[in-house]
């Protein structure tokens, strides 16, 4: 693991940011934004919060490149899961299939 000792001040700053982001998520959810914007905003904030936790609380910012590779692998496979499944599901109506 990393021998780099992260200062407590950084932890508290990240904590404060996470709480503010949570409040922001709740606040935005109360507005009926056009189209899929509600989900996009909520997920963008969630990704930002998760990134903060991963980089600072989980010390990944101070970790070796091999750690980064592991995390990237997990995310890449997750994206493959979402992309391939959705590309099938969302295009089902494109090709008419005649049922017997």
């Amino acid at each position: 693991m990393s021998e780099h000792v992260v200062s407590r001040k950084i932890y508290f700053v990240i904590f404060g940011t996470l709480m503010v982001m949570t409040g922001l998520t709740v606040w935005v959810a109360n507005f009926n934004l056009p189209g899929p914007l509600n989900a996009i905003v909520a997920l963008t904030i969630a990704v930002f919060k998760a990134t903060l936790v991963v980089l600072y609380f989980m010390h990944v910012r101070y970790s070796s490149k091999i750690t980064w590779v592991f995390i990237a692998c997990g995310l890449i496979w997750l994206i493959i899961l979402f992309a391939l499944t959705l590309s099938d599901f969302l295009t089902r109506k494109w090709v008419p299939i005649s049922t017997p």
Binding site: R8, V53, F89
Partner: protein, 195 residues
């Protein structure tokens, strides 16, 4: 631990994928179903977990600096917060049971907007995802009690504290899963204002 967490990303990823699919299929049913979840309790739980991540990170800090007393205090705080999270979840589940919202033969959705089958699908996903997450929390509490016990027996020094860091990674991961669960499950119907 990172190798294990990568498998966990895909483990939860599968359920998130199911959620994405059915939310795309049933946007209205899901929104109406979500409006019946108490977002305030969900929000409190989110805050509880974020605070517990802070105390966990501080526990790692104190293990790095060889401060046994503060390390144990932060571990205890983390566990108390984790238990609080589970308590609130249990309270929510109990009320879902009372309101006939647990999918199965007991499920009833009347007098509220939204197709019952779609709503039932939402609650199926809700219980699966938060249930598996809660299981992970329980395991996390188990791990933390072992770490706490080890700390009490002077097993950690500034030179050797890897188990604390590694357990912290697991704890933060479980927090991250909730960070995504909260907006996707609780805040869908927030703009509908029907409780």
């Amino acid at each position: 631990m990172w190798a294990f967490l990568v498998t966990e990303i895909l483990f939860f990823g599968g359920m998130f994928m199911a959620y994405i699919l059915y939310r795309t299929k049933f946007p209205d049913g899901f929104a109406h179903a979500s409006a019946h979840l108490d977002w305030k309790l969900g929000g409190v739980n989110t805050a509880v977990l974020i605070i517990s991540s802070l105390t966990m990170a501080l526990a790692v800090y104190y293990s790095q600096t060889g401060n046994k007393q503060m390390l144990m205090l932060c571990l205890v705080l983390t566990m108390i917060l984790g238990a609080t999270f589970l308590g609130i979840k249990g309270y929510e589940y109990y009320h879902k049971w009372e309101d006939n919202l647990i999918p199965g033969s007991n499920f009833k959705w009347e007098g509220h907007p939204g197709d019952p089958q779609q709503v039932q699908m939402f609650y199926f996903l809700y219980f699966m995802m938060t249930g598996v997450h809660a299981l992970h929390m329980i395991v996390g509490l188990g791990i933390m009690s072992v770490i706490l016990w080890m700390a009490s027996r002077d097993r950690f020094t500034a030179g050797y504290h890897s188990p604390v860091e590694i357990s912290g990674l697991y704890w933060h991961f479980v927090d991250i899963v909730w960070i995504f669960l909260f907006p996707l499950l609780y805040l869908l119907g927030a703009h509908l204002h029907d409780q």
